[in-house]
């Protein structure tokens, strides 16, 4: 499919520019802050003399002029080198890769569940528009949408870990339990239940609303009337004619949000003490770990761009009208 290849290369070129622009933008944003990592480390050491801070600054390259730092940074970014975190004494790339699995397993599971659940509930609600089940789904969805995500997390911990003791409240696995194989997987899955539920609930509400609205829109279109006039059974009309057409706007929004789930996971990872990218980002802000912060920004931008690309591709597969147009 040379068309698709052309399309992808076109989008990639565009994406590279966006990402480079973001890198520059972030660089200045992050450096606009007062204080630097040397200061934080001096503060945490509990005692500091001028030499110590000076040493740190030199080590971090913070004594160079800003444009020089930008130059160094950009030339590294171009080579896919995200730099070195002096605070954590590790290459940023390694740090991110350490944290990425947790965040990905959290966000992707939440995303997939939210998408499937949202589409199912939205369809149900729309096809029964006006009945009590529609009302119930709508009300619950709206409530989930309006509730602060961290608050849901806290309430779930309170209920399921503290009061009922069914599920672990934090962490990604039971440490020192020595599980292997299937047991280890189950253990990890158990740790993910509450965070995934919390994160997924909000997005499920979003997708439910979207699906419902989209189906209501499609439901009255002419081609659905045609399908009815053909004497097709209802389930086929819903699944083949209505849903497939209604799903497109949901895919757009979903693809758009998939990248932003990382933002939502800051809160989730904080509440549930998960060592993921979101928390790393928050800590990096507070500790002024420039390199890490810039790395995360870059990574998330890449994720968003990749997801947008995927969305476009899926879109072009589902919708023949989109001739993978730019």
């Amino acid at each position: 499919m040379p068309r698709i290849a052309l399309f992808i290369s076109q989008r990639l070129v565009k994406a590279v520019f966006v990402i480079l622009a973001i890198a520059v933008f972030n660089f200045f944003l992050v450096h606009a802050a007062p204080g630097d990592p040397a200061a934080v480390m001096a503060g945490e050491a509990g005692a500091a003399d001028a030499k110590f801070v000076e040493q740190l600054r030199q080590q971090f390259g913070l004594d160079r002029p800003l444009y020089e730092q930008l130059g160094t940074y950009m030339s590294k970014v171009v080579q896919a080198d995200l730099g070195y975190s002096y605070r954590q004494q590790r290459p940023v790339f390694d740090l991110l890769m350490d944290r990425l699995p947790v965040t990905l397993s959290l966000t992707l599971t939440a995303f997939v569940l939210a998408l499937l659940g949202g589409i199912a509930l939205g369809t149900l609600a729309a096809m029964r528009a006006g009945t009590w089940s529609d009302t119930a789904i709508t009300v619950v969805g709206l409530t989930a949408y309006a509730t602060p995500i961290f608050w849901i997390g806290l309430m779930l911990i309170l209920l399921f870990s503290v009061n009922l003791g069914w599920l672990p409240a934090f962490g990604t696995e039971s440490i020192g339990a020595g599980y292997t194989g299937w047991e280890a997987f189950l253990d990890k899955a158990k740790h993910l239940v509450l965070p995934v539920t919390t994160l997924g609930l909000f997005y499920m509400a979003v997708y439910t609303r979207l699906t419902r609205a989209s189906i209501l829109e499609v439901r009255d279109m002419d081609f659905v009337k045609t399908a009815r006039a053909k004497g097709l059974p209802e389930w086929r009309i819903v699944s083949v004619h209505i849903l497939r057409n209604a799903i497109l706007p949901v895919i757009t929004v979903a693809g758009f949000q998939a990248g932003h789930l990382i933002g939502g996971s800051i809160l989730i990872e904080t509440v549930f003490a998960l060592p993921g990218i979101g928390r790393l980002a928050f800590e990096a802000v507070l500790q002024r770990d420039y390199q890490v912060l810039l790395g995360i920004f870059l990574l998330t931008s890449v994720v968003v761009v990749v997801f947008n690309l995927l969305t476009d591709l899926i879109y072009s597969l589902v919708d023949p009208r989109i001739e993978v147009a730019p």
Binding site: A33, E44, F52
Partner: protein
């Protein structure tokens, strides 16, 4: 006292690195204290106890210190620990990487190994608290054979720390846990007892509390448990709480006052602050009973504390009178003055404290605007004197010369340096007293000098002292001997054992 058992200890925040010589943040000390060792440790009353040094002598003029080392200590890679390691650590490694050690050992004229197991330190002039500098976090012993001739900070061996301690580094799952295992060739026969120690990273305070309750972790220390959880956790049947084991650190908290700015340059205004703030309330309601209201610059568990100083009781009336006297009359809106308070970004409790101070000062007519920032911003602003009020607490390291002097003497007014005399307080008399007291090793003489200094300082209020802070250590009742010395949880844990039921 049998062998075996795994202990899970909270570590928070996650240390950046475990090489104690390179990083001395609190969490690093707690973890690395099991891997590295110092020459000495300290009893609860801050008397030196043997560790890697089995005995020591001080010359009568107080200038020469000679240590005899244990003979069977080995590094985790099997190499013997000798006097040369001590010399390397104190004269090379720490001089480059450890600000506190640098301050101490730069007072030495020479450091030499008399033989493989004897080290001698010769001081340029007597320094009272010299022995205090040999505890594990102040002077951790680093392996010469690994670091000699390398760039210490970039040495690849930093990823797998090698010490002489009872536990060896096994694995570090970043963001999750650090795993230490028993050092089978530990130099104390039959020790340690525990097989494994896991340090678990749990960034959320509420989660940490849950972890203690559910018994997932068996020990917490320092600020791990937020103060409001302390009363509840104290009541748990499976854990025991102690506030002992922090004597060496003896943290003291205060409101940092920028005495360069109006109206804070007025002694009476600062005294009024001392009267306006109810330190008992702070202790009881914000620190939930932990700590003691501070009376002056030296913590009562630190050596040379002077109890007989001017007392500042909670007395808003008195505070208002002092403000009137200083000329701060009430304006139309009931406000006498406006100041900013830069809240220390080290957790909820300090935020609550900020809110309390704001309300307390409002009661005497001083309008306080709260400012928050992150750690970097806080260090940056305080060390560059861009603040009116802030909070701070510092460790006293057992001796005023180590942990108190630096805050008040005028030659430590250094812009851009944190934990210096950032208040800009300057009193030649105080400078003089502190200088003399450091240079003698006669305890009575030092007591007199320090008492005099404390009286002056309490009168001048260069900072508004709040609490002699206490940290709660929660330990699972099955684990014994966790807190035995003045450095508490930073100890090597070679004598900790688990009682199996």
């Amino acid at each position: 006292q049998e062998r075996g058992g795994t202990m899970n200890i909270i570590v928070q925040p996650e240390p950046p690195i475990l090489v104690l010589g390179l990083n001395q943040q609190g969490p690093t000390q707690t973890v690395a204290g099991k891997i590295y060792q110092g020459l000495l440790t300290f009893s609860f009353d801050l008397k030196p106890q043997p560790e890697l040094a089995e005995s020591w002598e001080v010359s009568p003029d107080g200038k020469v210190y000679t240590f005899k080392l244990v003979k069977n200590a080995k590094w985790h890679d099997g190499k013997p620990f000798t006097a040369h390691d001590v010399v390397f650590s104190t004269s090379k490694f720490l001089m480059e990487t450890h600000p506190r050690a640098r301050a101490t050992f730069s007072k030495c004229e020479k450091i030499e190994a008399l033989d493989d197991y004897t080290v001698q330190f010769t001081l340029k002039e007597p320094f009272g608290p010299f022995l205090q500098a040999f505890e594990v976090s102040s002077a951790p012993m680093m392996p010469k054979h690994i670091y000699e001739g390398t760039d210490f900070k970039a040495n690849p061996a930093n990823a797998t720390p090698i010490g002489t301690g009872p536990f060896k580094f096994k694995e570090w799952n970043k963001g999750s846990y650090i795993h230490l295992v028993r050092n089978d060739e530990y130099w104390k026969a039959g020790k340690p007892y525990l097989d494994d120690i896991y340090f678990r990273v749990i960034p959320d305070a509420a989660s940490r509390a849950v972890a203690v309750e559910q018994g997932t972790v068996q020990q917490t220390q320092f600020n791990d448990i937020e103060t409001f959880d302390v009363p509840r956790l104290k009541g748990l049947p499976n854990v025991e709480m102690t506030t002992k084991g922090y004597e060496f650190f003896a943290p003291l908290s205060w409101i940092e006052i920028n005495t360069r700015n109006k109206p804070l340059d007025d002694k009476r205004f600062r005294q009024a602050m001392m009267h306006a703030i109810d330190r008992k309330f702070i202790r009881d309601k914000i620190w939930f009973g932990l700590g003691r209201p501070a009376t002056g610059p030296v913590n009562s568990v630190t050596r040379f504390h002077e109890p007989n100083v001017r007392k500042y009781d909670y007395d808003p009336k008195r505070a208002e009178a002092l403000l009137e006297e200083a000329g701060y009359k009430k304006g139309a809106d009931g406000t006498r003055a406006k100041v900013r308070l830069l809240v220390m970004p080290y957790g909820e409790t300090w935020t609550r404290l900020g809110e309390y101070v704001k309300q307390a000062m409002k009661r005497v007519g001083v309008d306080v605007t709260l400012e928050t920032t992150d750690a970097a911003g806080w260090v940056n602003r305080v060390s560059n004197w861009d603040y009116d009020l802030s909070f701070n607490f510092v460790y006293q390291y057992g001796d005023p010369a180590l942990g108190v002097t630096r805050t008040y003497v005028s030659d430590n007014i250094r812009k851009g340096v944190m934990f210096s005399n950032t208040m800009g307080y300057s009193n030649p008399e105080v400078d003089q007293l502190f200088a003399q007291a450091a240079q003698t090793n006669k305890d009575e003489e030092r007591q007199q000098l320090y008492s005099a200094a404390q009286k002056i300082l309490v009168e001048d209020v260069p900072v508004a002292w709040l609490l002699e802070m206490e940290f709660p250590t929660f330990v699972d009742k099955r684990f014994k001997n966790a807190v035995t010395t003045a450095i508490g949880v930073n100890e090597s844990y070679d004598s900790v054992y688990m009682v199996k039921k």
